[in-house]
Symmetry: C2
Subunit: 102 residues, 2 copies
C-alpha cells in the first residue's frame, strides 16, 4: 500500500537537506518538536495540515510544490505497482533508491 | 493558512460526484465509516494515509492523481495569497467557486 505520509516525509527531508538546514533549525522555526518532525520525515507520523503548513513555511517551500512532488513520486511508485512483473528488479531498485536519496 | 486536508476533501468529493457515487457507496467500499468520510470531504478531519489509500482505491482514482490535483489547487490559492491586493475581488470569487464546484 502506498502511504502518502512516507512520500511527504521524504520530500520534506529532501528540501531540508537541499537547503542545508538541520532538523533542529526547521523544527524551531516551525514551532514543532524536533522528535515529531523527525518522525514525520521518516514517515512514521502523519503531519496535520497545520504542521505541514508551518514546516513548509519554515523551509521556504510552497505547499503546492511539496504536494506536486509527492504526487510525482507516488506516480512512479504506482507505475511500478501496476506492472510489477514486466519491470526488471534492478530498475525497481534504481527508481527506489532515486526516490530515497536524490 | 492553507490547509491540505481541505483541498484533499474537495478533490475526493469532486471525484466521487463525477463518478456519480454516493458517500454511502464509497464509504462501504473503502471500509470507512460514512460520517468519517463525510468529515474528511468537508475538510474537518485529517485522513490517515491508510484511509486515503482505501478511499482512492474505492474511487478508482490513483493517489498520485489526487495529490497532483491537490497541489494544483493549492498553487492557485497561493497565487491569490501572494498578490491579495492586485487580484480583483471578482476574480478571487471566480477562482474560489471554480475550486469548489468544478
Amino acid at each position: 500500500m502506498i502511504l502518502v505520509r512516507q512520500e511527504i516525509g521524504e520530500v520534506l527531508r529532501d528540501y531540508r537537506q537541499q537547503k542545508g538546514r538541520t532538523l533542529r533549525q526547521v523544527a524551531s522555526r516551525a514551532s514543532v518538536a524536533l522528535g515529531y518532525l523527525s518522525e514525520v520525515e521518516r514517515g512514521q507520523k502523519e503531519a496535520s495540515s497545520e504542521i505541514l503548513a508551518s514546516v513548509a513555511e519554515a523551509l521556504d517551500v510552497p505547499i503546492s510544490t511539496i504536494m506536486r512532488e509527492v504526487g510525482d513520486r507516488i506516480s512512479i511508485l504506482e507505475g511500478v505497482q501496476v506492472f510489477p512483473d514486466v519491470v526488471p528488479d534492478d530498475l525497481v531498485a534504481e527508481v527506489g533508491s532515486e526516490l530515497s536519496f536524490r
